[in-house]
Amino acid sequence: MTFAESFVVDVDGLDALVQVLIQRGYETKGPTVHDGAVVPGPITGVREFPRGVRDEQAPGRYRLGKGDERLFAWAVGPGSWKADFFPANQVEWRAHTSEGALSFAEVGTASTPLAIIGARPCELAAIEVFDRVLGEGAHPDPRYVTRRDTCFMVVVECAVPAGTCFCSSMGTGPDVKSGFDIALSELSDADGHRFLARAGSSHGADVLAAIPHALASELDLRARLESLEHAEASMGRHLETEGLAELLARNIEHPRWSDVAERCLSCANCTMVCPTCFCSDVLDISELSGALERRRVWSSCFDLDHSYLHGGAVRSSTSSRYRQWMTHKLSTWWDQFDTSGCVGCGRCVTWCPVSIDITEEVEAIVRTDGAARVTVPTSRSDS
């Protein structure tokens, strides 16, 4: 079996894949339906996948409906794999005070290796962005690195993008080229319901060899390309990335920032659902028993406290907070990590309670590039 070869696996074969990974000691997780949405959850076999489910997504709106026989005919939901590598609440260290002396206890890095079965291409791209943030540099997060290095990744290419997807604009989907152990494409046509499978690592090839599979035909390969072409043509959103980082950098005084601030709730839903948002707060907790704990918790540039320096918050207005968020994603992320901070998953668009759409906000600035900032009367409060 070589990496370049493609195989055909049927639904039972997919179930076998899950079983092999469980036998090999992985904690197996994948997309599941919970509370009316497709979200990450435990997987013990194909029955937990969102079979026969379709999603309908628009700015500020998400509905699940009935689909066909396919298991992966939907786009990403509100949860992302970020929570598995960068938990919402993680203990960094523990300590104890006793008679004035402080003793520290280590919080280990060991955990059961994780197998993700059914990540979408944009989700893998988001994890690769995260690798640069938490996995590289002078101080990589040891727990992140362990969890990531031991992770087995099965990516399923997208056939049915949602109304808020724009991965093709960001070069992160609907197909996947590298970074996976196994890549699958779900096919459902006259030749039946099946998966086209490719290995992306020796580990992946090994697992693929252990489940029932057949060599793919020319027709199967063509069916995959047609499905991808169709997906590409049905992206709900588009973002022009050419010159975008510079465009935003020269428009930091654009009146659109005040316009979006009228609508923005500063509720932080966009940053919570974004698979690449990594901001955190560090909390020191002391207990009556003398126990101390340092925790890292999710935070957001939409929090007033997030930019709190001596004497007050630096970004006290919603316009400055929204601008920070969007220019970081699309412009300054390049300076910081040499990549875009946005992978085009559309989550921030769907899950914004007031339907703010990052692609539409960019479009508004593109249309009026260089517009002077409207002078704000000094009596107006800035929040």
């Binding site: 509100p78 709730l265 500063s266 509720c267 028993s289 918790v297 929090d303 309670p353 007031v354």
Partner: protein
């Protein structure tokens, strides 16, 4: 264990004004921590717990309830004068509570509805937060307050640090616990985006929209949420009614409440 001799322990006083007692009950609710707490502070004045009352001054006072009577007005000044730190607890003390509905109607109309002989009452025309009368060192929000947050305020006071209590929205807690957003998924009217965190997004996790117990978040943009709830089919009056509960008089929730009638 931070246990020191009685004389060295800071003294704690708990005061009640116009309120339901639920918030001070949160202190007794700290069952597992109560003994340790009693070892760290001297509970000098807490009539819900003990008739034994030690005289002031007090190192830290927890004040529950809003100011609704001439007597309240005088008493809160005395509490302030005898307290080194004054912390208000709960929606009544921090925003006036649900009884502040009376602020938006003709004076005395609620009293006439509820009492057979309102002439025996001696009350003010409004229900106001403690901070409208005396200076307050820290405000702990919620209806009722969260007992974990109450302990955190006391622990921070004992350790001389800032309490770890967020001013952001309930949405952030909702997402941290991976609840699927009700507003986006099924158009439930939810006040989470404008409400201060603290409860851990309890109601959305059980399929109910947030009622706004903790009052406006640091950055609440109520007009924008109003527009969204309106687009979902709620009338202006329905949204006003939603906002007119425990924190009806909080400035950011109040904006359009003048028309609300009992």
């Amino acid at each position: 264990m931070i246990a020191v001799s009685s004389a060295m322990r800071p003294s704690l006083a708990v005061w009640k004004f116009t309120s339901c007692d639920g918030c001070q009950l949160s202190l007794l609710d700290c069952e597992d921590e109560l003994l340790a707490l009693a070892g760290a502070v001297r509970i000098a004045h807490f009539t819900e717990m003990s008739k034994a009352i030690a005289p002031g001054p007090y190192d830290i006072s927890l004040v529950e309830g809003s100011i609704t009577t001439p007597d309240d007005e005088e008493r809160i000044k005395a509490v302030r004068a005898s307290s080194k730190y004054l912390v208000t607890i709960g929606a009544c003390a921090t925003s006036g509570g649900i009884q502040a509905l009376c602020n938006f109607t003709e004076p005395g109309s609620y009293a006439r509805t509820v009492y057979a002989h309102p002439e025996f009452l001696s009350s003010l025309d409004t229900s106001t937060p403690v901070s409208s009368h005396v200076s307050v060192d820290y405000e702990l929000h919620g209806c009722p307050i969260d007992r974990g947050q109450l302990l955190e305020v006391l622990l921070a006071f004992l350790a001389g640090r800032r309490p770890v209590i967020a001013g952001h929205s309930v949405c952030q807690e909702c997402k941290a616990r991976a609840t699927v957003c009700l507003l986006v998924e099924n158009a439930t009217a939810c006040l989470g985006p404008v409400t201060r965190a603290g409860c851990g997004a309890l109601c959305p996790s059980l399929g109910r929209g947030c009622f706004g117990c903790f009052g406006p978040s640091d950055t609440a943009n109520v007009p924008s949420l109003r527009a969204r709830l309106g687009a979902n089919g709620a009338t202006d009056g329905q949204v006003s009614r939603l906002l007119a509960t425990f924190n009806v008089a909080a400035p950011k929730f109040r904006a359009r409440e003048e028309g609300v009638t009992p």
